[in-house]
């Protein structure tokens, strides 16, 4: 009897937890989400922001309403992307943001966009979870006269958006390749045998980075021993690297991880296989994303070079909206500025398609400033 009571208690505790969970995630799709977000992020400055809101209301009449259908919150990168949008589209900057976290559910994302149309917002920002199936809903946006700005990932089956803002993943791959070529020349590495731990198969970041790196590898006649997916996760990177260490024992001298998390996993696996890596090791470790933790590992002489994928799309989208507001036509493809990081010893001059690249040396300040 006692135990039965206990189980009931447990059940009710869980139920309360669930309700809280549901509440948390569902209210982000409601109209008040923007207000909730604001109050959550800036509760201390509530008064101040209220004042500014009054100012904005009187000075330029109305706030620009923006809806943002975000993919989810699966990584540090994504969180930084969300935060960037929330920072830029604040009331202080003359915006009102409706933010919807779609939790990697493409149906939910379509719903979110439709609800933005119903609310008759001024602009809609979409980070598309999938690249297809957008034509119908984008046509609806067009008919409603709402400009759509696509960020980060791409839409393949429709061109009914005014601009796309994001990273050029292929350039990132090319940068990694060109850097490796220059680095190998400087260090006197004559033969390159690389293993690649790629991202989630079919993700645009995976396709672009693989394509770019492969292009240089083909040109230079490098030997790519294997390419397996680590699904952009640390565990995935660890497992794939464990197997590389056994399949290609002593055969590889370059490891390319398509994001930092995979690199963390690959490092653990190489530690456990007694393989030395980094600027002073036997293996050159290349990573992408360059999040704070990644740069810390560059500073710790573990990752040889890290190629950034800038998540801070907010300011660039802001630029596009300002252009439209002032009656201009924005460029259809806006590429964000990205940095290539390494320690001074691994900084070499290289070019992409004849364009000289500048590398950023990793210092404490740089790490501090990174997302």
């Amino acid at each position: 009897m006692k135990k039965r009571f206990l189980s009931l208690m447990c059940a009710s505790v869980m139920a309360v937890g669930l309700l809280a969970g549901c509440g948390g995630s569902s209210d982000s799709s409601s109209d008040e989400s923007a207000a909730t977000e604001e109050s959550a992020t800036a509760s201390s400055e509530e008064e101040a922001s209220a004042d500014i809101k009054a100012d904005a209301d009187t000075s330029d009449g109305e706030l620009i309403t923006v809806g943002f259908a975000q993919v989810g919150h699966e990584s540090d990168w994504r969180t930084a992307s969300t935060k960037s949008a929330q920072d830029v589209f604040s009331e202080e900057n003359g915006y009102e943001l409706s933010f919807v976290d779609c939790d990697n559910d493409s149906a939910a994302q379509l719903e979110a966009v439709r609800s933005f149309i119903e609310q008759d917002l001024d602009y809609i920002i979409i980070d598309p979870i999938v690249s297809t199936g957008w034509d119908t809903v984008l046509t609806e946006c067009e008919e409603a006269g709402i400009p759509v700005i696509v960020i980060d990932r791409t839409i393949d089956d429709s061109d009914k958006y005014v601009a796309w803002v994001g990273s050029n993943f292929k350039t990132e791959g090319l940068a990694a390749g060109e850097w490796l070529k220059a680095y190998a020349e400087e260090k006197g590495i004559s033969e390159i045998n690389a293993v690649v731990i790629s991202g989630t198969t079919g993700a645009s970041a995976q396709i672009g980075r693989s394509e770019g790196f492969q292009e240089i590898a083909d040109r230079e006649g490098w030997n790519i021993l294997d390419e397996q997916t680590g699904d952009f996760t640390e565990d995935g990177g660890q497992e794939v690297m464990e197997n590389y260490c056994k399949s290609y024992e002593g055969q590889f001298n370059v490891v390319v991880c398509q994001n930092d998390n995979e690199a963390f996993g690959a490092m653990t696996a190489m530690d456990n296989a007694g393989v030395s890596y980094g600027p002073n090791g036997d293996v050159v470790l290349i990573s992408f994303d360059a999040c704070t933790a990644g740069l810390e590992d560059v500073a710790a002489e573990k990752i040889t070079a890290d190629f950034e994928c800038n998540p801070l799309a907010g300011p660039f989208v802001d630029e596009v909206i300002k252009t439209i507001e002032s009656g201009g036509t924005p460029e259809t493809e806006v590429y964000m500025v990205e940095h290539w990081f390494a320690l001074s010893d691994a900084i070499v001059d290289f070019e992409i398609d004849g364009e000289a690249q500048e590398m950023t040396e990793v210092t404490d300040d740089v790490i501090e400033a990174q997302y």
Partner: protein, 365 residues
């Protein structure tokens, strides 16, 4: 002498573990063929050596160790899943999410809420781990309550936590990956002496559970409830409590698996820890020759099933099958294994064996 041999062989062959074990061996045997064809030592896949590491001393190193190590989570989940399947004739599809929520809870306690990276513990490590295990039991108790007392179908009942637990985990971690960069936390997913700790943890769990099931009547109770719930109740068993208990155990094992998975990467990646693991756990139970219809169960079979799944993965890596195509090969292998163990196929094989026997006897006559 000869007769005695035959009887041992027959006994082995008729053992419930025979087919699952043969399947595991067959999967690994593929590597012998591959390595021979490649001109390397045929036994490359099976060789275990001692290896000096950076930071972990000397460890055992080899593919077999990898299979045992990487298969740990699936094996742990399979233990709980076997009991749940047996007692309630249904599956607990929430185990993957429960792994995630427990790992998140543990890391949240250790790091403190809202902290995304830490080197020091906020609370003692043991407290964090125990709390995670308790949360696992609570999740299991919740599932068990719905199934045993409210008579909700297991899949529907566990669907709730399947979708909600991961989200709760994300809330606990403030939507971030929480990194615990501390060697002590990495121990559970790292090495204990020369062996990977997950292998030891799994072995301990298997031994304890087996002892409990064998030395007490619990194992028999679970089977009898699974075979006939009403009859067991009339015979004096508290069927509801027994079903409930299996779900609590399942939650506990999910929590252990979650903590191990999180310790491997010394972080709580709530989006990815235990993702799709419930499917592996269910598959492990099926590959182990257990009926998903409940009743009699074979714990060792499920464990072998779990390692078979990992052996397939590791084999595909060894063969260098690209990860894009790997699922297809995996599916084919799984279909073959399941088909071999399907009752009609088994019956057919028995019939053929009997025919052969008659023919042989006829010839002798």
């Amino acid at each position: 002498m000869n007769k005695n041999n035959t009887s041992i062989w027959t006994r082995i062959r008729s053992s419930a573990l025979f087919l699952p074990f043969v399947c595991l061996v067959l999967v690994m045997a593929v590597n012998i063929i591959y390595d021979t064809m490649n001109g390397s030592n045929p036994l490359t896949f099976f060789i275990i050596t001692l290896r000096d590491t950076t930071g972990n001393g000397t460890i055992l190193y080899g593919r077999i160790i990898d299979i045992l190590n990487r298969g740990s989570e699936a094996a742990l989940l399979a233990l709980g899943m076997t009991l749940v399947v047996s007692s309630s004739a249904g599956t607990d599809i929430s185990v993957g999410s429960v792994m995630s929520v427990c790992a998140s809870f543990c890391c949240m306690l250790l790091a403190g809420y809202g902290v995304s990276s830490t080197n020091d513990f906020n609370v003692p490590l043991v407290v964090g781990i125990l709390a995670a295990l308790i949360l696992g039991c609570v999740c299991g108790a919740f599932n068990g309550f719905l199934v045993a007392f409210l008579k909700i179908q297991p899949m529907v009942a566990t669907l709730i936590l399947y979708s909600a637990a991961r989200a709760v985990g994300l809330l606990m971690c403030n939507d971030l990956i929480v990194y615990i960069r501390n060697d002590a936390y990495g121990f559970l997913g790292g090495f204990c002496g020369i062996l990977p700790t997950p292998i030891i943890i799994t072995a301990i769990c298997i031994v304890i559970l087996t002892l409990v099931l064998k030395k007490t009547a619990l194992g028999m109770y679970i089977q009898s409830v699974g075979i006939n719930d009403k009859a067991s109740r009339i015979a004096g068993l508290n069927s509801k409590m027994i079903i409930w208990a299996t779900y609590v155990l399942c939650g506990l094992f999910a929590a252990i698996a979650g903590v191990v998975a999180s310790s491997r990467i010394t972080s709580a990646d709530s989006n990815n820890i235990g993702l799709y693991m419930e499917l592996d756990a269910i598959l492990a139970v099926a590959l182990g020759g257990n009926s998903l219809g409940g009743g009699k169960f074979n714990l060792a079979g499920s464990v072998i099933g779990a390692y078979t799944i990992q052996a397939i993965t590791t084999t595909l890596y060894n063969l260098g099958v690209s990860s894009a195509q790997a699922p297809v090969f995996k599916a084919i292998i799984v279909i073959i294994i399941v088909a071999i163990q399907a009752p009609p196929v088994k019956a057919f094989m028995r019939k053929r064996a009997a025919q052969k026997q008659t023919v042989r006897e006829g010839a002798r006559a």
